[in-house]
Symmetry: C2
Subunit: 378 residues, 2 copies
């Protein structure tokens, strides 16, 4: 590895790096300043950092790269070896590296696929910290088009709508990061995993293999090794087709979430809230309210039934109700279509009070022309 990366002849960036640069421009990423690159040591992230280093060396980018690597503490010695390997790669590229260590196994539940979620959470917390410490407004991950297609297929198998099927954005605010810090994925729109591997090989770099990528007890691994290859017998560019579908659905979802936000603001505006708290509509409610209801009320404004019911398109109405419920509950865990349908059912009922119970002890209560969110009873 060392030889190849050090003595690469200077004839401008490789096609892979040039493609990364195109994407950089298309996504309007900052042309300079500190950038944190998440590097696991796998082919994808190794390819990304090698390409970025090429672009910096050839003065196509003026960013200052910093490598961030998290050992999730799930793979014992292999994890520690990966961390050492990444540190060595950083060294050879003349880059600073932050190596972190987490104990994801202890945090995760028993289920195999929860492990993946816990690892993901730990990773993003680590990246947010690394960005803060580096004063970097930008964090990059090396998700590929293959990852995007896999994410789509896993969401499809759960029956998700456009929110889940849309998969990963190319650029979005970093979860848990400082305000304004972006997470960008400069490979997700175009790079196949095989492209990354070929590029690493062409640079003489032998990336690290993660044996979890071979473990078929993970649904994602079975999607990669069994489902995608079958789909490619129908259409050799099936992964690209799926990624295109995901992009279209992401745009759809953005447009509809925007409408849902507007609807919600209109249904629950300040004056509505004051009216509900002081006026006639709230009277019946005050008579029956419990401490839990008061708690719920203080967090979440009530909604005017007529505004929500007047939204003709269920795609917008349901998104507005989901956002409102997420606001009340803190998240959407265990909230299923059947619960949303129950809440929608309250819109039709007459003027009497009715209740839709939600998982976790919360509920939505209709009193006259208002929907109230009620927190869990204590």
């Amino acid at each position: 590895m060392a030889e190849a990366t050090r003595h690469r002849p200077r004839r401008g960036p490789s096609p892979f790096a040039r493609r990364v640069l195109e994407e950089w421009k298309r996504l309007a990423l900052p042309p300079g300043g500190p950038v944190v690159v998440a590097v696991s040591g796998g082919a994808d992230s190794t390819a990304l950092v090698l390409a970025l280093a090429e672009l910096v060396a050839s003065k196509r980018l003026a960013v200052s790269l910093k490598i961030a690597h998290l050992d999730h503490g799930l793979r014992g010695r292999a994890g520690a070896e990966d961390a050492r390997w990444v540190a060595r790669l950083a060294d050879e590229l003349g880059l600073e590296a932050v190596i972190g260590r987490a104990s994801v196994g202890r945090r995760a539940g028993a289920a195999r696929d929860n492990l993946e979620q816990a690892a993901r959470r730990a990773r993003y917390e680590f990246l947010a910290r690394a960005a803060r410490e580096a004063g970097a407004p930008l964090v990059l991950t090396a998700h590929t088009l293959d990852d995007q297609a896999e994410t789509f297929l896993l969401a499809l198998l759960r029956g998700s709508g456009a929110g889940g099927l849309g998969g990963m954005s190319e650029v979005r605010p970093l979860d848990g990061g400082e305000p304004g810090v972006l997470l960008a994925r400069p490979l997700v729109a175009w790079a196949r995993r095989a492209d990354a591997e070929k590029y690493c090989a062409s640079r003489g770099v032998r990336w690290r293999e993660d044996e979890m990528n071979e473990d078929e007890s993970f649904a994602r691994v079975r999607v990669r090794r069994r489902l995608l290859p079958l789909l490619e017998t129908f259409n050799p560019r099936a992964a690209e087709a799926i990624a295109r579908a995901a992009e279209l659905l992401r745009e759809d979802n953005n447009a509809l979430e925007r409408e849902a936000r507007l609807l919600l603001r209109y249904a629950a505006d300040e004056s509505a809230w004051e009216q509900a708290a002081s006026g006639k509509a709230a009277e019946g409610f005050s008579r029956n309210k419990t401490p839990g209801e008061r708690a719920g009320q203080s967090r979440v404004p009530p909604l005017r039934v007529e505004v929500i019911a007047g939204a003709k398109m269920s795609a917008v109405r349901r998104r507005a109700l989901r956002r409102w419920l997420a606001l009340g509950r803190g998240d959407l865990r265990r909230l299923e279509a059947v619960h949303l349908i129950a809440v929608e059912g309250l819109l039709d009922s007459g003027r009497g009070g009715r209740v839709a119970e939600l998982p976790g002890g919360c509920a939505v209560v209709r009193r006259r022309r208002w929907l109230f969110f009620r927190g869990p009873r204590r």
Copy 2:
């Protein structure tokens, strides 16, 4: 078959028929009057007509059923035998049957999957005619949840957006039918193909097998026989999950198409059209116009660039442009994402004229603050 259908003990409708009745009510289908039921003789459509006949016999529905069967002329003797079998079934159920015959093979191109499209077109023409002749406001087809999942997966393999992935509506206007005639699919939201087969078997009716359903040169057959079973190893209810995703995307698409219609109306309203035809904006255009341009102009009003460009969400903007292009071209055949992106590109350009060519010799021309559709040059 005859014995079983005639001597069924009277103890109310079977669970399958009751489920059809529930769906009938949920979809608000008319409780009486003539109804055309498309029956191929396969398990799905045989189950549908048997269930409807049960509901009529037990007076749960007061509709007058008429069977419509089309021999597509693709399967020689087998097709003729199916037609005889359906006629006999109708006879035993005491129902009228219209048996039609088409020559789909001659109409279709060479490709296997085009054959499916040609057969579909012939079938809907036939059903529209049957509805007209029966004076029926309603035509039923027996598409199942399996068909819905297959349709989704085929659209996904093409990289379709919500329009294609959304699949089949439960109720919609009948293509080529009289105004107000509906096509409804009372099995599509819930019935698995296996449910239909079990129900037929429980009624002692041995449906007809179509050997084309075994022909793996059709992508749909491979989806059914290879892809869905693999998906069910991930989630035993994968077909239901996919159908749920399809329904959510159909709702999304309906909401966004509605917005796109509104946007288009605003961008191309009558006054805009008159202004374009007489005012300053059209001047530059008139100087250069060709007979083809005049033809294009007369069909399709120009669009105000500022209105289309002002629509922030690309999900709505692209749908509006697609609708407008469909209006100009007659259909969307061979129109791909790249063409739409080229048309969108015209929105950004300065005030000078620019052209985006479309397949089939059409084009979109920007002149100052307007987009004009130009028909094919002759």
